[in-house]
Symmetry: D2
Amino acid sequence: MKLGLIGLGKMGYNLALNLMDNGHEVVATDVNDQQVQNIAQDGASPADSIRSLIDNLESPRTIWMMVPAGDITEQVLSELKPLLDEGDRVIDGGNSNYKHTLRRAEELQELGLFYFDVGTSGGTDGARNGACYMIGGDETEFRKIESIFADTAIESGYHFAGRAGSGHFLKMVHNGIEYGMMQAIGEGFDILEKSPFDYNYEQVANVWNNGSVIRSWLMELTENAFSKDAKLDDIRGVMNSSGEGKWTVESALDFELAAPVITMSLMMRYRSQEDDTFTGKVVAALRNEFGGHAVVKK
Amino acid sequence: MKLGLIGLGKMGYNLALNLMDNGHEVVATDVNDQQVQNIAQDGASPADSIRSLIDNLESPRTIWMMVPAGDITEQVLSELKPLLDEGDRVIDGGNSNYKHTLRRAEELQELGLFYFDVGTSGGTDGARNGACYMIGGDETEFRKIESIFADTAIESGYHFAGRAGSGHFLKMVHNGIEYGMMQAIGEGFDILEKSPFDYNYEQVANVWNNGSVIRSWLMELTENAFSKDAKLDDIRGVMNSSGEGKWTVESALDFELAAPVITMSLMMRYRSQEDDTFTGKVVAALRNEFGGHAVVKK
Amino acid sequence: MKLGLIGLGKMGYNLALNLMDNGHEVVATDVNDQQVQNIAQDGASPADSIRSLIDNLESPRTIWMMVPAGDITEQVLSELKPLLDEGDRVIDGGNSNYKHTLRRAEELQELGLFYFDVGTSGGTDGARNGACYMIGGDETEFRKIESIFADTAIESGYHFAGRAGSGHFLKMVHNGIEYGMMQAIGEGFDILEKSPFDYNYEQVANVWNNGSVIRSWLMELTENAFSKDAKLDDIRGVMNSSGEGKWTVESALDFELAAPVITMSLMMRYRSQEDDTFTGKVVAALRNEFGGHAVVKK
Amino acid sequence: MKLGLIGLGKMGYNLALNLMDNGHEVVATDVNDQQVQNIAQDGASPADSIRSLIDNLESPRTIWMMVPAGDITEQVLSELKPLLDEGDRVIDGGNSNYKHTLRRAEELQELGLFYFDVGTSGGTDGARNGACYMIGGDETEFRKIESIFADTAIESGYHFAGRAGSGHFLKMVHNGIEYGMMQAIGEGFDILEKSPFDYNYEQVANVWNNGSVIRSWLMELTENAFSKDAKLDDIRGVMNSSGEGKWTVESALDFELAAPVITMSLMMRYRSQEDDTFTGKVVAALRNEFGGHAVVKK
């Protein structure tokens, strides 16, 4: 089918190629003109603006947004809304907070528009060769556009999860689990690193990927990473994060649920972003106060 | 090659079949006579005692122990040591604490014996159809018996990790990572369960196994579990543990290493084994003392 | 000075008595008429409605709200706003979320009103005999009404912390620390309870209150609690919470700050409110899948 | 009464002065001759060796060891044992691991000696002016020497806790609680530090010490620390530890008990001792692998 794609970053560009490989017709736009020209050469219909993209599609239109969550998604939607016609469909393929999705879906519904929240996993490689989609929205309408997900996902790699919000929520929790798994793997290798033994981490990850209980794609990526830099000597252990882990923890708090592992995996990321902590200063000062324990001067 | 196998439990019995499938000759014994008779019908040479097993092997013998870690392993070793000849090899395929392994390897070395610690992953199915081995011991001697591991492991599923102790240590850390991953998965589904959405967990696990970042064998098992009992209504969330997680945390403490995720995954298991906690009583009593907050009476 | 007091619950009633003991004139109202009649007998001017309370005060009025945070505070403020005159002062003595306080202070400022957020600690006994106040708002205006805080606080027991919001924020963090301290105390006694020794907890708490590093009011309360019920046999360890702990953790997340101890103390409260967990069910099911470990049936 | 004191460090020297102030006669020795000369000038009988100290006391002797736990305590005991007579008493005033105490008490009992484990809190100032003692050992024998504890403790500041080991165990748990409380306080001030408000921490600690729920000696020390360095700008947040926290966590593990707050307070200390972590490197490398997220190069 023919659809519009807004956003040609790492994920969006690959998705465009993937869609076209599977016979879909893509009208694409981006704030970066160069990317629009590139995708035109790769076979898409270029659009120099959102208005132009809309004009190049017939109602009921299908518009896939692949832009950063937050302000940019909000802004693109503001621009889109007055241009769309009743019955048009908007897909949010970004990692939006599900609470925003609930609000947006309602706003669009009042305009007679359909909103789909599509959590996308699998990284940039997945976007190109077979992604994993978690989809929320109106089910009847979903069936009409199902092919664009079915065709660009890996086999069995898409799931209609229910009403609007359920897709982004599912992706959020997916990322929360991912945080926990990654921290568990990291801690495991840290224990090996401090052990009295002398392990070859690439080989360790390799054997763990062959028949062990913890075999997983993340362990394959671990193997890849160690194959390039045997002890990760070249990088610092700064663990950034982009929102979903925080939202997962906030959801746990909202539901009054103990989720210590996902929470600690997030908090250790925050800790890694600081060279020193005020917490530590207070504790060090206290130890000095009551026991005369030496403090480390700056 | 011909080898002795001590222990015909879930793991040992399957390993015996696996070894024989791959052309190895197995002399087997167990405290349970019935199991010995069964494995004899399946093609092994039965031995009604450890002494008889030793007598049925020629030096340099290879003896694979597949018995529970701790007292039983200790006892089997005590029985074995006076019966063995210099150059014989003993394999500990159980989940022994690596500190015990370090001591035992030294004790056997003084007797001119070779000790191999072989952490085994993949569960009972792995033992039967392709296990994952993490192996420590003398490398030269290891190469002489490598075939029994290579033949019974899944492809690329064994790793010689270094000197004695390194195999069990690696398996211990593997299990620590496993604890963290499992708790992360559990917490994720708990957040789904408390969410305002209505998910089909089997389908969720299925889509997460197809292209997502968290695809893994544990997620496949999650899918299996939900396929049998859609909401796990039939079981209680009591999470037992068998030692390796505890040792992993103790190792982290010994190395003065923060491993919060593995640690919390262990502690939540302990928490799940209690209906009520004394910690909770104290906190509830304190809230009542200062704020007059009601306590829940028994 | 003369002031209005809205809310005659456990805290408000005691505060009214405290204010009057210190020579202040109190006009008081509450949704519960009986409480209004009681406080009238204790010397306050009763008001049967907020309007009547306002009518009994001359501008610039000082109105102290001692009502539950959240909807009720919101509702009282809605009722108050149209009745007040420029220059009037409203004190929120409840445990309001500081983000609400920031919004409300702005709304009142636009009306020419002064808003003070006063976090109050010390429990009901403190409200009666000497509370601890953490105060945010306009400093010049604060100095005009300082006496009502100075007189009803314990000596040195009030602190002007800065602009609006800073008082409730400080109280929130105070409660977060309180959560952590209480959980630490609870865990300590739990370790004693599971130890091979046979301790008398009241005496333990007593010695810890005399010269030890952890001597504290909370430990005194612990001693009290054990003096009434030596092993806390009569109560269940259900740890409820009322918001400030959650907000403290949410603030830590907002600031991208690792606060594991305050966070875990909150999450263990949530855990204590559940008899069983879905997390636990998933982990138990997984252990059964890969290792054949028995699950506990319901 | 007359007693021997081994160890004239910060704690032991102050204890000697305290004992003499209260009319006790002290024979003192230390590996540092200067300290022995100093305490002689302060009124004690100097002994240039443990043998000489023993010779200056009549059986049944009372010997108080105030030396570092671990190897030094072990060594002093080895030296003492052959020199003592049946019925003599040895007091271990250090922070020994209670498992060592259990072993040592048994060894001494076989020699007809009495062993007392005395956990001592209150810091160096407590040792001088009134300590807090948690005491294990034989109760009948304890009553004979009770005065040395009663006289040097703060009022109500000593507790006979039960059989040998119970004193050190109690002190260990005391320190575990202390870790949790300190980390809670540290995290609280860290949240203030990152907040949009501008607090004066000394004043904050002061108001929290006057009437609030979290008033405590640790909060008084916090106030002291901030009075000297308003933002703790001069020190680094490196939090060292000396064993008891680790043993507390190990005890929780041995008892299969969830003690997340004490545990996390310990692990955050370990974290503070590292500039960078291998855990962090692994997680950062993984994020780069699947999402192309930038890593921080060294």
